[in-house]
Assembly symmetry: D2
Homo-oligomer: 344 residues x 4
């Protein structure tokens, strides 16, 4: 068994990682840290893990371990990255600190980077985008959830040459409340947050940077909070120089994702679930992607949906670790989701 | 008092009209029809109206009346329009039958029109767009809810010349489940409909026709069902030939809506509700509009939010009737909405 | 016009009072206080009131006024009660401070009362229970929301002698998240609070004291948080010494509520809404009550439902003030609620 | 591998069974039937199963199989039971047809039983209640979801002698919309069903019969629909002849459930989740049980929560089949649920 520890195990993504690792055939959980909940059981914070015999330890009690998953706020990982890399052969970071390829871009979108010398070592976690560079990686940066959903939708078009850097792309993203994290606050209190369609990042959302960096596209990005807990659904409105034929679209998506274990192509057909939906993937590591052509407006509409806590963070991190360490790609990630299921 | 009857009073918009008319200082409800619920009390269908002493009558029992509000499915009003106009001096139709200015356009987006000779008489109900033509109108066509939310956002730009017919506009709309009507069905059953972000009209939504007809704009229109009951929120991504200055945007919106009793300009500021939201207008006839400039992408993002049952149908109809008949514009429509309030 | 000020206008009940007073034909809002939001507009906190030209003032800026509505946390009103009564002829308090008839009972259920000399002056606000003592009252204590819903269900049985102090009564109450107030906190954050059926006061809920004091009944009281924002629904399981006949039950309820403007008797019949429901009264000052007899278990099941923000606090306060000041009872409270409407 | 088929695979419990069987280490799915969806993929109805290579077959195409799970409406299984038992060594029925021990009791609560000769062969599925009789059983009747949640809460008290047949017990149950099945209908349409606290079986709910039959208790049973999709939460108000000590309560629960793999005792402690909640078990086969003593009212309040689709039907069925066939009890049922998760 490979030992794994989770820094920041009391947050939402930390808890999701603990859940995944507890059910993973290759990993054994060694430790998880929490400043606030040190000595308490993991189940006292994450009720689904009440059966897990594990208590939080203080952050300064971390022991060496094979793989260290880091689930701390943006800006904190980079302060400790040297220490983390000393402790573990493989560090998988779920913050934004090592997602962008260079410090200059980072400084443009976030505050100044304090450990730029590690950036070149970091591999972007999303296997659908970067699988070939993951085996043996010792620093892995899990992607942003909204960047992940958006890029999964656009990637086939880019790879097939149906979408080029000069083309107009609008990404209108809808996300759940778990993106706000476990902290509370008035805006995320139930009475104020319930039932919203709330623009919370109309422009200059930081995930725009990731998309530009990895897809070489300029995307007009806007994020709305909607009534769900888990989920990131991106609707991309794409204006190519020439509208492709439907069969070329299908080819592009099948070419890109035909062998991907976690991407489902959903476009049309009958029934209730005819396009990608967060509900259909809630709790799972699956992404759904699909499209429709709008000849009237020379537009491709691309839909993609993920569970932001899974494919958008903890699941993506485990998937990347599986690839990095040579495990079965789907190990620990086989859960298919539920039907019916509520605000996912 | 002016007498008013409601054809199709058991549906959602019919019930909303009955509620508004019951509290209106100028109208007196004369009759409401329902094939299915004839002889039953209005309150047996609409629980909020249990205090109303009114029973449904069969459709063939309609008596002459001053104003007839018609809330029947698309295609049904036009079959009976001559009869309705015989019965009432003023007919206000909430279906799509008389929304489009000519039969040719109608036939393109819907099925063939069977009463095209009445189209020229019809006035579009939205006072913010068509107030000057409403006084004395004898056939009024209430606008589509998603067209209404979208047009209210774009109108100031069009009027100020900041947006011209050649500019690219994407309207990404999010709507509640009441748009599906009172009928039920598997896709709208609670387990399947709850918590969705579901593309339900990715392209060629019929409301696109109204927008083109009345704003002279080509809009790439996409509608998503989200978890709420009441609400239509439009996010318009606008690419003008030149990005205006913020102060010119404010001028455009203030010029357009400064005197409008039912439009609130909401853009930025502090607090939880910094942009237009359906929650903030739920149950009311208010629309909220706002915007943000995206210099990085030469984009204007315009937000607008309404209650689809009110500003998007029944409230708009009463507002238009108030203007048509010379009543106080806000009569019967003063309710301001609630805070906090859930899936609106 | 009668002048009215609201102490604590930034909280949920404060905002609801401001909404009601702004639309009230007899009241004119003079001031509203907020320590945190002083000088900000009321609409910046309560988005439905963006149209209201009113700013919060600091608590120490309160001027004399005809009626002072006090919406501060439990324990705070009594510290300032002498000052409040100096400022206004009529004080209506929405906290628990003056709800109980004597200091001893208060001390049993809450902490020590610091202004017991005012208790004898206080009149319980619920008109259905205490109408005869309200005219001219100068200190009015609005009832607890869950006590209100429970008592409205049980009152007819008590008055008709169908329920006596020795009979067993279980009150199983379901409430919305607005009861937790505007403050936020982890337990009330959207991800943790959404979709719950959560026992939050399994035993010894303080509203038990009010019920015992005013109905002279011992009630086993348990409160659950459920997924809604507004609403308190009480299901009372009553075991009388002898099960009454259905017609005697109807007589009891009709006798009690036949002339009440805000209580609707709902029991059986067809349709979707066959029993009292919070949805059916959301946003309104109405209460619904109903019952079913269970001969198999010699049990009466009584249902009652209110909007906790309205009939359960702000609406009840205005209703009581209307009675106290001799206004039309329903003044400012005519809104009937909506259909359909979501998590109310 | 043991072959298994699912009759009625397009419904909610059928889909849940297919999900469980697809991930089960001992079972291999052979067939699933659906009259309406014959020849369509399972994934076209259950979007979480889009990855499953399986199509529905017509009901008359059923082949012999080791285990047959039957998910059809009440009254239908018994019409075909002889045929089903000819086809399979083990039949697990999820309807109510074989839940009650004798035909007379069945006829009292349901319509007349048409295959009473099979009743004596049927074993009640709930392992916590009937584990010793399951091994080798060839007809297994999965329990009712609300009976299951209620009995799991009361069983320890009965077994420990803390609750006797003469004691008063009220079971106030809150359930999700998936209990209504996949059919739709106006009352379960999203606008009408969302946000409810709706009494839907105030008295004489049929699950009362199961509880009486298996626990030898008379329980006053009332069921409310609340806003969630999955979940059954029972609050039992118990009045024993003598209130037990807290330590005796803990002993009773630990004695009963200490070795149970799927029952968690949750009572008090800190954090957000201090009592049993449906959210904490959503998607899993776990039950949570807990209690609080109310000395003031000589009452025990017992809380229990399950996912009605899992522990309340499909999970219970698989659990029972595991026991009947000698598999690991937890096989295929290890999923622990999610945190955070919405209307479960």
């Amino acid at each position: 068994m490979t030992s794994a520890s989770v820094v920041g195990g009391s947050g939402f993504t930390g808890g999701e990682l603990l859940r995944l690792l507890a059910g993973h055939p290759e990993f054994e959980i060694q430790q998880t840290t929490s400043r606030e909940y040190a000595n308490k059981t993991v189940g006292s914070v994450h009720p689904n893990l009440r059966g897990l015999d594990l208590r939080f330890v203080a952050p300064d009690s971390l022991d060496p371990v094979d793989v260290l998953f880091v689930c701390v706020p943006h800006g904190v990982t980079m302060e400790h990255i040297a220490e983390y890399r000393d402790l573990a052969d493989t560090v998988v970071d779920l913050s934004a600190d090592f997602r962008l390829p260079d410090a200059e871009l980072y400084d443009t979108w976030y505050d100044g980077h304090v450990a730029p010398e590690h950036l070149a070592d970091a591999e972007y976690a999303l296997p659908e985008l970067n699988r070939e560079n993951l085996p043996g990686a010792d620093l892995i940066a899990s992607g942003g959830c909204n960047a992940t959903s958006t890029m999964l939708g656009l990637l086939p078009l880019v790879e097939a040459g149906l979408l080029t850097p000069d083309d107009r792309v609008v990404a209108d993203v809808k996300v759940g409340s778990s993106e706000g994290g476990a902290g509370g606050g008035v805006a995320s209190s139930h009475p104020e947050r319930s039932g919203v369609v709330r623009p919370y990042a109309p422009t200059t959302h930081r995930h725009e940077a990731e998309i530009e960096a990895y897809l070489d596209l300029q995307v007009s990005f806007t994020v709305h909070a909607v009534e769900m807990i888990r989920g990131s659904a991106a609707t991309c409105h794409v204006y190519p120089s020439e509208l492709p034929a439907t069969k070329d679209m299908w080819s592009a998506f099948r070419e890109q994702y035909g062998d991907e274990p976690f991407v489902r192509l959903v476009a049309g057909g009958g029934g209730v679930y005819r396009y990608p939906e967060p509900k259909a993937v809630a709790g799972s590591n699956y992404a759904e992607v699909g499209f429709e052509l709008d000849e009237r407006n020379d537009r491709i509409v691309v839909f993609s949906a993920i569970d932001n806590m899974m494919k958008g963070s903890a699941g993506q991190a485990v998937h990347a670790a599986n690839v990095a360490l040579g495990f079965e790609e789907t190990a620990g990630l086989e859960f298919t989701g539920l039907h019916p299921v509520g605000s996912p």
